[in-house]
């Protein structure tokens, strides 16, 4: 505890000297781990008294799952997510899905590095955007209502 306090104070000081407003909550970090047919599906979220719970999926690939005001919502969210992963894993296409997902995440990192580290012509923006639109169109095309298999929750982006 003492060591954590010292680290917190040190990091806070450095961030405040950078002009940031730092708010630290006393809370607990929870890690939730499931094993679904040999695949690890895990989550991390914090519990504090400030009525905001930040949930993140850690594995099989990292993704912010949202900020919730109620711990029940956190549990519901995890429950739905796990059910959906079970379905995908049982479909036998999970490895391919993971591979694809990894490519998308890597592409997002590549894109960030490209714009943060290099001078990029404006036409490149348009070209990349067009390519991404194509991928998105393909995804939307495939999401036909008759092919839907999960109904407990509506898709958030489709």
């Amino acid at each position: 505890m003492k060591q954590i306090n010292v680290k917190e104070t040190m990091h806070e000081m450095l961030l405040r000297q950078m002009g940031a407003n730092v708010v630290c909550f006393l809370g607990k970090q929870c890690f939730v781990k499931f094993n679904i047919n040999g695949y690890e599906v895990s989550y991390a979220y914090n519990i504090n008294a400030k009525e905001k719970y930040f949930l993140q999926r850690v594995k099989p690939y990292p993704m912010i799952a949202g900020v919730f005001e109620d711990l029940r919502d956190v549990v519901n969210m995890i429950q739905i997510d796990v059910e959906q992963f079970k379905n995908v894993i049982e479909s036998g296409k999970f490895e391919k899905f993971l591979e694809l997902n990894k490519k998308i995440l890597d592409t997002a990192r590549n894109l960030e590095d490209l714009f943060l580290y290099y001078i990029v012509d404006e036409e490149v923006f348009d070209e990349i955007s067009k390519e991404i639109e194509k991928v998105r169109e393909k995804i939307h095309e495939c999401a036909a209502p008759e092919k839907r298999v999960y109904f407990k929750k509506d898709p958030e982006t489709l």
Binding site: V6, K7, T9, M13, R16, G19, L26, A49
Partner: protein, 424 residues
């Protein structure tokens, strides 16, 4: 010696061995010892409650609450940055001022907290200057133990001595303040001399210190004003508590309650920060030592001391000073002082001498003795642990090389002071 006395001594010794060897956590060891005395019916619940010194517990809890709130304001970082900028980032001046600052803060707040609040800012500053933080940290930890000796609330042994001996805040400040001031200056200048070769930095690096903005360190200005106002009244209360007829614990706990009310901080978060293991350690020790007193063991020890010193006050004072210092350098000074208090009271009862110099000798020895080794004081142990996590190892040998000579010099100065001013 009867069976009850033998069992009480055995429980005390076994507990002490566990505390010293750290085979099990010191609080658990003391709790087990205290409970054993109750289980074997040497004392009952009523006795146990009676032995607990609520003044000590009240001051500790009250000040821990106040500190838990004050440290959220960013005051320590503000002061440290201000001081570092004041001397234009010169490490040989920063080391002196950080030492003095830690000592002054430790005189009013507990040593461990003070050091824990100084370490982060010291690490940042030493990283900016690209020099080892160890010289500064050593100056701070040694000064913290020295500063804590000057007041009733600066170090737990003083809280215990003050409560049991009926000595107030002013008594400590007037009787120990002058000698502590001398010891502090000697110490910080000695440390600067010892580490002089490590305190050179390129001019360019000092500009990073000047770029730090102390105002950014203040987290909550309103809370800072409220905290400092309450702290001012608490210190004023400590100065006046004897005159007004209040216990020091009433002052500390009242201040804590008012600060909790006006700060609007979450009470759960603040109370979590109280060092409950320390509080339970004290409670259990009071029960164990209280039992020794009740069954007559302390009286027997007092008789032995009087037989040895023949009631000579100067000899007794010097023996208590040096024995306290040497023992406190290796042992936890809290159980030691808890045992010595009834012993000194017993000396008064048996020999009828003026025991006031003995209290000052006990305080100086027990508090300053902590500087002798890495395990001598909680602040040293905590600092070494935190520093190791940050990648800077302070070994027992490293500490003793600097701490022990400084402790001996401090006790020499204390001996001269006591002989000239308190034993004439």
């Amino acid at each position: 010696m009867n069976l009850v006395q033998i069992i009480s001594i055995l429980v005390f010794l076994v507990t002490f061995i566990f505390i010293v060897t750290e085979k099990i956590n010191r609080t658990i060891a003391a709790m087990l010892g205290a409970m054993l005395l109750l289980i074997v019916r040497i004392i009952d619940q009523g006795n146990a409650t009676e032995f607990i010194d609520y003044t000590t517990i009240g001051v500790l809890v009250g000040m821990m609450i106040v500190v838990a709130i004050i440290k959220r304001t960013g005051l320590f970082q503000y002061l440290a940055i201000k001081v570092a900028k004041m001397v234009k980032g010169d490490p040989s001046k920063i080391i002196i001022l950080f030492g003095i600052m830690t000592a002054v803060l430790s005189a009013f707040l507990d040593n461990v907290t003070t050091v824990l609040l100084m370490i982060p800012v010291t690490l940042v500053i030493s990283k900016l200057l690209k020099i080892s933080p160890i010289p500064f940290i050593m100056a701070e930890v040694l000064s913290s133990n020295i500063g804590g000796t000057a007041t009733l609330i600066g170090d737990p042994p003083n809280i215990m001595i003050g409560s049991e001996a009926g000595l107030g805040f002013l008594d400590f400040l007037l009787n120990l303040g002058p000698v502590i001031l001398v010891i502090l200056f000697v110490t910080v200048f000695l440390i600067r001399f010892i580490y002089r070769k490590e305190l050179h930095v390129e001019k360019d690096l000092k500009k990073y210190i000047m770029e730090l903005e102390e105002k950014n360190a203040i987290v909550d200005k309103e809370l800072l004003v409220k905290s400092l106002t309450v702290l001012f009244f608490i210190i004023l209360g400590f100065f006046l508590h004897e005159h007004l007829g209040y216990e020091s614990s009433t002052v500390a706990l009242s201040g804590a309650a008012v600060l909790l009310l006006i700060s609007k901080e979450d009470i759960d978060e603040i109370l979590v920060e109280i060092e409950w293991p320390t509080i339970f350690f004290f409670i259990s020790l009071f029960i164990i030592v209280g039992t020794l007193e009740k069954v007559g063991v302390i009286k027997m020890l007092a008789k032995l001391v009087i037989d040895f010193t023949k009631g000579n006050l100067v000899l007794t004072t010097i023996i208590i000073l040096w024995a306290s210092a040497l023992l406190s350098a290796f042992l936890d000074n809290i159980p030691f002082v808890a045992t010595m208090i009834p012993l000194i009271k017993g000396l008064k009862a048996l020999a009828g001498v003026n025991i006031e110099p003995l209290w000052w000798a006990l305080s100086l020895g027990a508090c300053l003795g902590g500087n002798g080794t890495l395990v001598g004081a909680s602040a040293n142990v905590v600092t070494a642990g935190v520093m190791e996590k940050e990648g800077y190892k302070i070994t027992f040998k490293d500490f003793i090389k600097v701490g022990f000579p400084i402790m001996i010099i401090s006790i020499l100065i204390s001996s001269i002071y006591l002989i000239i001013f308190k034993l004439k």
